[in-house]
Amino acid sequence: MNLFVLYLLLLKASATSYSGLGSLPVIRQELVVNRQIISDRQLSAAVAAGRVTPGPAGLYLVSVGYFAAGIPGATAGLLALITPSLSVILLLRYLRQKAEHPRVKSVLQAVVLASAGLLFSATIPLGEGFLDSPWLLMVAIGSFLIMIFTRLDSMGVLLGAAGVCLLMEAVSLLMGRP
């Protein structure tokens, strides 16, 4: 895939998001649904890789870039992630007063809320892709509840899921199941 086009697609997603995973719906629409460059499975793996890594949650774009075009793609992902943040310099220079204007705040809040609705929307096809057993459904629901009601971070949840899985595999082996 053309690297510049990949950069522009990732930039479009990152520039229109206001949270780490806010870019996910646009990424899925462009790279999974429209162009079929990566799969839902790869997209979820990218999100997981971004979540078990220190630094900003949006780093999953680097992994998405890697799946799409290797190391050059990952570089495009990192650049696409960084580029919109440079706009804060313009805000520092010219918009210090306006940032607190009620109508500006209202617009931003509405965009953030719509991002949440889009994220919920993106969760459904991702879930349909691989929540194909009651156990996996319970893992997804359990992770959701743990994230909401406890202070455990996402890395802890992912490592916990991996740990429980290993434990069950070990128990299953000990009991002589295939």
């Binding site: 206001y18 890789a49 220190p54 209202s106 965009v111 609705g117 969760t123 959701f144 890395m155 899921a161």
Partner: protein, 191 residues
């Protein structure tokens, strides 16, 4: 006591700034807020390079800027401290180490992702990821669910969900529509 500017004059070098952001970017898990808390401790409390007011301004504007808040925050802090070079070094020093780790993890997934045990563990991790994504969405909604404000929030969230899920309206169009709704239906009082 020296002013923050005078203190910065002692330490005003790009290398030191990069070292701080590199360390925090490599070691701080737990999303942007954990990183920002670590930067507050380092830049405001320990070194006093930034005043609390400067820190808060950077934080507020980073929330307004498009893209990842944490990276915008790094750019803002770097720019306030050392201008363009500071902005560039801060954002790269924070993001490069973790980007390298992400690439390594992705490569590992590519190479070993099809082995039976790894495949099973991966399926569990991916299932947990679905829950985490839904929780991220909830974390965006929760602050807007105050008394009397929840109706507006619910309409926007459910509307965005329905437009995208059932009518296949593209995310960009949904976001633009939401911006329009936010402009026309403001619950923040004009001063």
């Amino acid at each position: 006591m020296k002013s923050p500017k005078a203190k910065l004059a002692y330490a005003e070098n790009v290398h030191e700034l990069g070292r701080i952001f590199f360390r925090i970017g490599s070691l701080s898990f737990g999303s942007g807020n954990a990183n920002i808390a670590a930067l507050h401790r380092e830049l405001v409390e320990r070194r006093e390079w930034l005043t609390p007011a400067q820190f808060n301004l950077c934080y507020a504007l980073a929330r307004v800027a498009p893209g990842t808040n944490l990276l915008a925050f790094c750019v803002a802090v770097g720019w306030v401290l050392l201008g363009r070079a500071g902005a560039l070094v801060a954002v790269l020093a924070l993001s490069l180490p973790s980007a390298a780790i992400v690439v390594a993890l992705t490569r590992l997934y590519e190479v070993y992702g099809q082995q039976v045990t790894i495949l099973t563990i991966t399926r569990w991790i991916l299932a947990a990821t679905v829950g985490i994504i839904a929780a991220s969405a909830w974390a965006l909604v929760r602050p807007a669910l105050g008394r009397r404000r929840w109706i507006r929030a619910a309409i926007i969230v459910v509307g965005a969900f329905a437009l995208n899920s059932f009518l296949s309206v593209s995310p960009l169009k949904v976001l633009l529509g939401a911006a329009l709704v936010g402009f026309l239906w403001s619950e923040h009082k004009e001063r």
